[in-house]
C-alpha cells in the first residue's frame, strides 16, 4: 500500500507467495529521494536438501536433488551424478556423455522457451501477461508452446519423463533410448530451430531500455564445446579455476538483517551467471547457426544489457537444437546404458550450466556408500546480489512512479534473470518505504 505523500518513507515489501516458501520477497527503502536499501529474496538455498542427503545412499542423490528445482531437474541430476562419479574415480564419456548432453539440450530448450514466450515476451510486447498477449499474438504463443514441446519430448525420450526425468543415474542411465525414438526427434528439432531463428528476429525488434552494467560474468569453459556439462570456471575478470577450487574463490554470506544469501567472488564482489555470462564468455563456441543468427540480428559477441537476455536465450535455443540434431545424427548406441560405479570414501565435485547458470555440487561419500556431506550452490542464489544491484539502479531511474508501476518495473528487471520465481505476472508484492 502506498503511504500518503506526507510520509516520505515508501516500503516496498513482498510477502511470501502462496505455495512458495518465502520466495518473492522484495523490500526497497527510499530515503530523501535516494534508494537506500534493496533486499531481495528470490530463492532459498537448498540447505534442507544438503542436510537430509546425509546418510542417504549415494545412488539416491540425483533423484533427491532433482526435487530442488521443478524446472531444471536435469541440472541437479547431472551435477550430482558427475560429482559422485568423480568421487568414485569414474568418468562417463563417449556416447553416454553425448546422451547427457542431449538430455540437457532438452532442458535448455523447454526452460528457455517457457521463459521467453510466456514470461518475458509480454513485457516487451506491452502485455501484462501471456494470456493477453496470446489474444493478439496467438501464433507467437503457439510457436513458443511448440518449441517447449520439442524440449519436453527430448527429455521424455532420454529422461523417461517430461517433468522429472527418472532415467538418470550415477554412471549414466537406467535405459538407453530406442534409436528410432531419437531419430524421430530430428524433425521437430529442425522445426524448432527455424522457429527460434524467427523468434530471434522478432526479439531483435523489441525496444530495450538503455541499461548496461560492467558485470563480472562467471561460466563454465570447455575446450571443445559451448560449456554445459563441465569444464573449468572462468570469468571476464581473470578467473580460471578447476571446479574443486570454487569454495576457495566464492563465498556465500548471510547479510545482517537479511534472510537471503549473497554470493561473492572473493576479492571482487557480486557476479553474474546464466545465458548472458555464457554468451559473453563463450560466444565463439556457440553452434554455427546460433552464431550466424546472433550476428544477423545485430548482436555482437559482447552483450552487457540484461534486458537483451531474451535474445540470448533465443540464441541458446537455436544452439541447443543444432547441437541436439548433431548428436542424434552421429549417435552410435553404446554397449550398456551405464558404467559401473563402486562407492569409496572420497569427495567429488561437479558443475554444469543449468538454464539459469552454473550449478555446483560437492559430495563426500563415507562408509558403505552413504553420503557424509553435501554442498549445492544453485544459479539463482548466485545472481541475487547482481539482481539487487540492477533493481537499485533501475528503481533509482524511476522513483517518481507510483508503487504499482514501480513494482512492474522491478518485476521486469528480475525477469531478465529468469530466476526460479518469475512465473506469475505479479510475483512481487512491492512495499516501498520512503522517508
Amino acid at each position: 500500500m502506498t503511504e500518503p505523500a506526507i510520509r516520505s518513507t515508501r516500503t516496498i515489501k513482498v510477502d511470501t507467495l502462496a505455495r512458495v516458501e518465502g520466495e518473492g520477497a522484495l523490500l526497497i527503502r527510499i530515503q530523501n529521494g535516494e534508494v537506500r536499501d534493496v533486499k531481495l529474496r528470490i530463492f532459498e538455498p537448498p540447505r534442507f536438501f544438503e542436510a537430509f542427503l546425509r546418510d542417504r545412499d549415494f545412488r539416491e542423490v540425483p533423484d533427491i536433488t532433482a526435487r530442488i528445482c521443478g524446472i531444471c531437474p536435469v541440472a541437479y541430476q547431472l551435477g550430482s551424478a558427475q560429482a559422485l562419479e568423480q568421487a568414485c574415480g569414474v568418468t562417463v564419456d563417449g556416447p553416454l556423455r553425448d546422451l547427457r548432453h542431449l538430455l540437457y539440450c532438452g532442458e535448455w530448450i523447454e526452460s528457455h522457451a517457457l521463459h521467453l514466450f510466456l514470461l518475458h515476451a509480454p513485457d516487451f510486447l506491452g502485455y501484462p501477461d501471456a494470456i493477453r498477449m496470446a489474444q493478439d499474438h496467438p501464433d507467437v504463443v503457439r510457436r513458443g508452446l511448440e518449441i517447449k514441446k520439442t524440449g519436453n519430448r527430448l527429455m521424455q525420450v532420454i529422461g523417461g519423463r517430461e517433468i522429472h526425468p527418472i532415467n538418470v543415474r550415477v554412471g549414466g542411465f537406467y535405459r538407453l533410448p530406442a534409436v528410432a525414438d531419437l531419430h524421430a526427434l530430428v524433425e521437430p528439432l529442425e522445426r524448432s530451430l527455424e522457429a527460434a531463428i524467427d523468434t530471434l528476429r522478432l526479439t531483435a525488434c523489441f525496444s530495450y531500455p538503455d541499461f548496461e552494467r560492467d558485470y563480472e560474468f562467471v561460466a563454465l569453459s570447455h575446450p571443445d564445446e559451448y560449456a554445459i556439462l563441465g569444464g573449468r570456471l572462468v570469468s571476464n575478470r581473470g578467473l580460471d579455476i578447476a571446479l574443486e577450487d570454487f569454495p576457495a574463490h566464492f563465498d556465500e554470506e548471510h547479510l545482517a538483517h537479511s534472510t537471503s544469501l549473497h554470493a561473492y567472488h572473493r576479492g571482487h564482489g557480486a557476479y553474474l551467471v546464466g545465458p548472458l555470462a555464457r554468451y559473453n564468455l563463450g560466444f565463439e563456441k556457440l553452434s554455427p547457426l546460433a552464431r550466424e543468427a546472433a550476428l544477423a540480428v545485430g548482436l555482437t559477441p559482447t552483450c552487457l544489457n540484461p534486458f537483451r537476455s531474451i535474445m540470448i536465450r533465443c540464441v541458446e535455443i537455436v544452439h541447443a537444437c543444432e547441437v541436439a540434431i548433431g548428436i542424434i545424427r552421429a549417435w552410435r548406441e553404446p554397449p550398456a546404458p551405464s558404467v559401473e560405479v563402486s562407492p569409496r570414501p572420497a569427495t567429488g565435485v561437479g558443475c554444469t550450466e543449468a538454464p539459469r547458470g552454473i550449478c555446483w555440487h560437492r559430495y563426500t561419500i563415507g562408509d558403505s556408500g552413504l553420503v557424509k556431506d553435501a554442498r549445492i550452490v544453485p544459479p539463482t542464489s548466485q545472481n541475487q546480489a547482481s539482481i539487487e544491484e540492477d533493481i537499485r539502479r533501475f528503481v533509482a531511474a524511476h522513483l517518481d512512479l507510483p508503487d504499482e508501476d514501480l513494482r512492474w518495473k522491478c518485476e521486469q528487471a528480475v525477469r531478465n534473470y529468469d530466476p526460479c520465481i518469475s512465473c506469475s505476472c505479479h510475483f512481487l508484492k512491492l512495499r516501498v518505504e520512503r522517508t
Binding site: 502462496a18 505455495r19 524446472i71 514470461l119 501471456a130 494470456i131 496467438p138 514441446k149 517433468i163 518469475s422
Partner: protein, 180 residues
Amino acid sequence: MNPADPTRGAARRLLVIGVGNPHRGDDAAGLEVARRLQERLAGIGVGGDSETGAGAGAVTTAATVDIATGEGVDLMSRWEGADRVILVDAARSGAPAGTIHRFDARRETVPSSFFRYSTHVFSVAEAIELARVLGTLPHELAVIGIEGAVFDAGGEISEAVESAVRSVVAELAETLDARD
C-alpha cells in the same frame, strides 16, 4: 490392451487430473484424490495411472485418472484429446480449510489467486485461460479446488483437507461409475 476394444476410444473421453505437490502438506490434496481414485478403479479392474501420465485407459468406465504437477503447459498437453476433464487441486483463497470450490471453466474464469503452482510457471488458472484464448479448451472442464490450510514442506495433509479429499473421491468415484 486390445486395439479393437470399443471402449478404447472412450478412454480419453473423461480425464481426471489430480494436481499438486506431494511434499507440501495440503498441497497434495489433488494428488491424494487422484491416487485414491486410481486405487478404487484398480480395485474394480480398471486402469489408473502413474506419474508418467500415460493414461492406461479404462475397461468398465471410460475414464483415465492422471497425476500432474500443475505446471500449466504440461496440463494443456495432457488434456489434449479429452472431451471432459475434471481437474482437482489444492486452493488457497482464505476460505475455511476443507472448503470445496467448484468452477466450470467453460463458463467462468478460474481465479488465479486460488491455484498457485510454484512461483515457477503457469498454474492451473493460467493454463485454462491460455487454452481458452488459443481455442484448445476441452469441451467440458470442471475444476475442483480443495481449500488448504497448511503448506509446509514435508507436512501431512491436515484433517479438514483429509475430510474434503474423502468427500471428493466418493463423489468422483460415483461420477466415473455412472459413466458406464
